[in-house]
């Protein structure tokens, strides 16, 4: 079966607005599962250095699959995934330059907050003592400095997710992949974590790929939104949001934000009608 030409009719021109060069590019990527479900077909997208890009779409549109492909947790059935040259070199040298945050906190219940955040470093052979400063810094970054000895079950849902983010950040990854990390949280907690995540992004200067099904969340967080359509999953349109726009409560209640949300909702609606 030949992959059809990429369906990028409504993609807006973004030349010159990109915050950086392409960190990685997916070209004509398809993914079929063993049960004959086609999750992705003819997916073209790139991730640029230092950007906050959201993959927005209905459930079943393959956005999580795209994230797993980028993480290397699964292989594409067709098409190619190219890393930027420097990135390829570095990834060989340090395979842990990707941080991944799952939809659930995915913490080890038998380990303390400290132990959970230590995990990626521990697996890389870094002892508790050596890892201590990095762990303390990651916990500080997510506002959990005082909870290092707590166990996951003693924490609220939002705090567990913060631990999960700290764990992803502890290796100082260049690329942070987040799979609907706040979907299970209440709105108040989600808003708070949105702000904190933006703060982390600004401070670390990492690249974030963020999967979500919330229009409002994607507009609030992203410098770029890729709207996915389903069956087969691929990018339907792209929206760019000025990365210099301050993201705060004033932005959340501003007419610009409302306008961007309307525009994004329309793009999403088009994506859902596309088949």
């Amino acid at each position: 079966m030949n992959a059809p030409a990429p369906d990028l009719d409504s993609r807006q021109s973004v030349a010159g607005t990109a915050p950086g060069t392409a960190l990685l590019r997916l070209s004509g990527v398809g993914k079929r599962f063993a049960n004959a479900v086609t999750a992705l077909e003819g997916l073209d997208m790139d991730v640029r250095q230092g950007e906050f890009v959201s993959l927005l779409g209905p459930s079943g549109c393959g956005k999580s699959t795209a994230l797993r492909l980028i993480a290397g947790l699964t292989e594409p059935s067709e098409g190619r995934l190219d890393w930027h040259e420097e990135e390829t070199v570095r990834r060989v040298a340090e395979p842990r330059s990707i941080g991944f945050v799952f939809q659930e906190p995915t913490l080890m219940p038998w380990a303390s907050v400290f132990g959970n955040v230590h995990l990626p470093l521990k697996l890389a052979g870094t002892s508790r003592r050596e890892a201590e400063p990095a762990i303390a810094e990651a916990l500080e970054l997510v506002g959990l400095a005082g909870f290092r000895d707590a166990y996951p079950r003693e924490l609220s849902g939002g705090m567990k997710m913060r631990v999960s983010i700290a764990r992803a950040l502890v290796t100082k990854p260049r690329l942070l992949l987040m799979d609907e990390p706040f979907a299970a949280l209440d709105e108040i907690t989600r808003f708070k974590l949105n702000n904190d995540l933006l703060e982390v992004w600004r401070r670390l200067g990492c690249t974030i790929v963020f999967v979500t099904h919330s229009v409002f969340e994607s507009v609030y967080l992203s410098s770029r939104i890729l709207v996915f359509r389903a069956r087969p999953g691929r990018v339907s349109s792209e929206l760019v949001i000025d990365p210099n726009q301050p993201r705060d409560e004033a932005f959340r209640t501003s007419p610009e934000y409302a306008g961007l949300c309307r525009e994004t909702s329309l793009a999403l609606a088009r994506a859902m009608d596309a088949h």
Binding site: L73, I98, F102, E104, P109, W110, L119, L123, R153
Partner: protein, 260 residues
């Protein structure tokens, strides 16, 4: 509720009431000791025959504990092999099930033909204790959170790291649950083996004392031996519960006693 004194007083009260009722039944019906001895008489026998009874109790306890250790080693090791190679699991699990569903009482006489008395009793106890450890540990090793497994993969974890830092801790509560079942079953297996050996006139454990006392119509001693078997079972259960609590108290729901 967990700390309420009622939790201790109520079951103790019921126990005392039962013993009193037993005592009354004997007194009112004027039952002879070879039919039903009074509780006091059983206690006297327990004290009088303490040398022989406690020696027997140690034999039974030792058999049970050794069988349990072998069950943990064998069941645990086989579960690890099962978890790393499904083909071994497919091949061997049915055999383990056959071993489990064949009543040990039916196997015991055979064991006594081929093995020495002590070894036969030990094997009987091991057979029944082995399966819960095996099946629970296998279940635990296969219950790893798929996201955590992905995370280990992303972090470049080796097979050994994944086993020690992910699979074993995940399996621990399941294993300990299996161990508690196995503890009770090992005692039953030991008693069954001893009874089979006892009917052949051999043995030295508590169940052998029961068979021996029954032959001699020494019913008070039979009751005394029975009480000691119960105490042995309670001791094993308590010891394994303590072990489970020590291992899981910080993180597992089962040992947190409703603390919020």
């Amino acid at each position: 509720m967990a700390t309420s004194p009622l939790r201790w007083f109520l079951p103790l009260g019921v126990l005392v009431a039962l013993v009193l009722a037993w005592s009354l039944v004997v007194k009112i019906n004027n039952l002879p000791p070879y039919v039903l001895p009074a509780p006091g008489e059983v206690l006297e026998t327990l004290i009088e025959d303490r040398a022989v009874l406690f020696a027997s109790m140690l034999v039974t306890l030792q058999t049970t504990v050794i069988a349990l250790l072998f069950a943990v080693a064998g069941g645990g090791a086989l579960a690890l092999i099962f978890a790393s190679a499904r083909i071994v699991e497919f091949s061997l699990f049915p055999i383990a099930v056959i071993l489990q569903v064949t009543p040990v009482i039916a196997v015991a006489p055979l064991m006594l033909i081929y093995l020495s008395t002590d070894a036969a009793v030990l094997v009987c106890a091991w057979i029944v204790a082995f399966f819960p450890v095996l099946s629970n540990t296998t279940l635990g090793l296969n219950s790893v959170d798929p996201n955590l497994r992905d995370l280990f993969r992303l972090s470049g974890a080796s097979r050994g790291q994944t086993l020690v830092q992910l699979k074993l801790p995940t399996a621990l509560p399941y294993f300990l649950g299996g161990l508690r079942i196995a503890g009770g079953l090992a005692l039953i297996g030991a008693v069954v083996g001893e009874i089979a050996a006892g009917s052949a006139g051999q043995g030295s454990g508590l169940a052998f004392r029961i068979v021996e006392s029954a032959y001699r119509l020494n019913i008070p001693r039979l009751f005394a031996a029975l009480i000691l078997i119960s105490l042995t079972g309670i001791f094993i259960y308590a010891a394994l519960s303590l072990l489970s609590w020590l291992a899981l108290r910080r993180w597992h729901e089962s040992e947190l006693g409703g603390r919020t």
